[in-house]
Amino acid sequence: MTTDPIEPVLPTPAIAKKRRGKDAAGDAPEAKGITYVLRLYVAGQTPKSTAAFANLKKICEEHLAGRYKIQVVDLLENPQLARGDQILAIPTLVRKLPEPMRKIIGDLSNTERVLIGLDLLPRE
């Protein structure tokens, strides 16, 4: 799939391992130097997708300033990509990095749920 517009930034395996260990231990994930690769799946320019993108941008600026990367995938343009990340609901936000993968569906209007989904807030 050469036309794939997404070029995820891959961390070195060693770092990835370290991060996973930290996650599992329940440490605060906003440790310095971790880049969040977030992929937002939308289907066309709908109000919901626009809202989702705006909400995401806002949350990232507030909580992950300078260490995040947002990729927007429009499934209307690249329908075959829906299969790869098992996308059913639109919009879906996928946290590609740090691992493990997380999915948050919806227009991201509930900031708290988004932060929990991104492991930026501890789950109750």
Partner: protein, 579 residues
């Protein structure tokens, strides 16, 4: 009834339908599933929903040139391919040939967080892409309800599913949606509310430790359909549904005859045997020769080059063949030639419906002219009597429609009324042969008579039924003051008659000799009388001669005297002669 209704007014526009290619289902639904609309198939776990859906797709792709998309929500494409491979569906090949698209939809690992509203556009896009990639006409969503456990917010999901079904309809694809059966509803999430065109319920139940699968069309908008529960079978050829109860009594009766394989039995049956396509019941107590009679029939059919199918429920094929060889019937060559096929199963192997389905399938596949079910009564171990009767009725119907001459054996318990078979099928069969024990003089012999035979003049005699090393023989029995004579009693009677005959013959001979003697005597007497008569005749002739001579003498003398007295000139020449 449903059938005749839809057949008569051909002009009526019919709902367009999509043939499933699944044996029997198309008959029940009168032509398949509603074309371009969603159909809901629901049922409990393990009742065959996925399989039915898959067969619908595979048959569509292979038989009707309608490619299909299978969207699996529960099983991975790999598992699915493996699972249906055992039914002879090569999904890999179909996928490679772009006839089928398998898409495994799963939620990925981990929880899904939800924040705000969403829709299922992702699913729509995936489905659309899959459909468009092979120009699919059929779609299966198996089991879409699992979305409810994967995704939050059921209210949104319901709305989205409704939209999905509408969208599928607009797209014009024939869709099967499977759903797990709920407690009070047909499906857990009440999908039947959204899919209103056609709903089929599958059921897998166990009664008396025997499981049977059933299918029922609960609803079919805009079409007539069979409403009963129909048994179905999953085997190496996929699913086959048996719409047996829809059969009416419209079989055409043949007038052709089929020999029974026993010549004397044929003559008892109006001289020609059974009717082709009729059903024959052979009932009798244990060991009366029911199987032997069946074997005769089978062997005769095979000898004519017909195909025979033998359903054995108590003996294995090799046992039957061995036993029949002992009475001089060798069935093995026919098996080797492919004319005879044994299908041996334990009656408890499956439910009645399943047996019926199996028999139905076997008959369809083998296309026999003769079918033996030996014995019918063994089914009672697998079900109760009403069910057995219903099943036999369906079976008889099926066989008659296929113009198959069938012979059922039925074991009657000794002690019970002979004319009452355990399976009350008497009214269903056309010809009923009754084999019975006759106990006389410390012996047990076999007797046979025809209890009934519809549509032919038949013998009312009881015949003795002998199993010899060259097959079944029917002998006349002796009816005397002490009843029917069989076995040694018959032999004794035969000897007595022989003796009596001999005596009679001797008497005749004696009389003949006597007569001869009398004739000889009479003839001798006649000769003697004749001789006597001849003697008398000669004597009488002599006297007559003398008398005449004397008369002549007297006349001469009188003439001479006259001459002398009147001095006639006539010389008395005879004077000296007369003296």
């Amino acid at each position: 009834m449903a059938k005749s209704e839809t057949q008569s007014p051909k002009t009526r526009t019919k709902l367009p339908k999509s043939l499933t290619g699944i044996q029997g289902l198309d008959e029940i639904t009168d032509g398949g599933l509603p074309k371009g609309r969603p159909t809901l198939i629901c049922g409990g776990a393990g009742c065959g929903k996925t399989l039915l859906a898959m067969e619908f797709l595979v048959r569509g792709a292979t038989q009707f040139n309608e490619p299909g998309v299978f969207m699996a929500f529960e099983e991975s494409a790999k598992d699915l391919t493996k699972n249906v491979a055992s039914l002879g569906f090569d999904l890999k090949d179909l996928v490679a040939r772009k006839k089928i698209v398998l898409d495994f939809v799963y939620n990925g690992d981990g929880e899904i967080e939800s924040s705000g509203e969403f829709n299922l556009d992702g699913l729509f896009i995936r489905l659309e892409q899959a459909i468009d990639s092979i120009n699919a006409k059929r779609v299966v969503l198996d089991t879409i309800e699992s979305l409810f456990s994967d995704l939050p917010n059921p209210i949104i999901l319901r709305a989205e599913l409704r939209r999905l079904f509408r969208w599928l309809k607009d797209k014009g694809v024939t869709t099967i949606i499977t759903g797990e059966r709920g407690d009070a509803t047909l499906t857990r999430q009440g999908l039947e509310e959204y899919v209103s065109d056609c709903v089929i319920v599958l059921d897998h139940r166990v009664s008396d430790q025997v499981s049977s699968r059933r299918l029922r069309v609960v609803k079919y908008r805009g079409s007539t359909h069979g409403t009963n529960e129909y048994p179905f079978l999953i085997d190496e050829d996929g699913i086959s549904v048996l719409p047996v109860t829809s059969l009416g009594l419209q079989q055409t009766a043949s007038t052709a005859r089929v020999p029974s394989g026993v010549t004397r039995l044929d003559s008892m049956l109006g001289g020609a045997g059974y009717y082709r396509g009729s059903s024959v019941l052979v009932s009798g107590t244990a060991g009366t020769g029911k199987t032997s009679l069946s074997a005769h029939f089978v062997a005769a059919a095979c000898r004519r080059g017909e195909r025979a199918l033998y359903f054995a429920f108590e003996e294995s094929p090799s046992q039957i063949m061995r036993n029949m060889r002992s009475i001089g019937i060798d069935l093995e060559p026919w098996v080797e030639k492919g004319l005879l096929h044994f299908q041996a199963n334990r009656p408890t192997f499956a439910g009645l419906e399943m047996h019926l389905t199996t028999i139905h399938k076997a008959i369809k596949a083998f296309k026999p002219q003769v079918v033996i079910v030996d014995p019918l009564t063994s089914f009672i171990s697998g079900g109760n009597e009403t069910e057995v009767k219903a099943m036999v009725m369906r079976l008889v119907d099926l066989l008659k429609i296929s113009q198959v001459t069938s012979l059922f054996t039925s074991l009657s318990l000794s002690g019970g009324a002979l004319e009452q078979t355990q399976v009350a099928v008497a009214s269903l069969v056309d010809t009923w042969l009754l084999l019975r024990d006759i106990e006389i003089g410390g012996e047990r012999n076999r007797g046979m008579y025809i209890l009934k035979s519809r549509g032919m003049a038949h013998s009312n005699q009881i015949r003795e039924f002998l199993l010899t090393d060259h097959g079944v023989e029917l002998r006349d029995v002796y009816v005397g003051p002490s009843g029917v004579l069989t076995g040694s009693a018959r032999l004794v009677q035969e000897a007595q008659e022989q003796a009596a005959l001999m005596t009679r013959n001797q008497e005749v001979e004696r009389r003949q000799i006597e007569l001869e003697r009398k004739r000889t005597t009479l003839e001798a007497q006649i000769v003697a009388l004749r001789a006597e008569f001849a003697v008398q005749e000669i004597a009488s002739m002599k006297i007559v001669g003398q008398e005449q001579a004397e008369n002549a003498q007297l006349a001469q003398e009188r003439a001479d005297m006259g001459l002398s007295r009147k001095a006639d000139a006539v010389p008395n020449k005879q004077k000296g002669v007369a003296k």
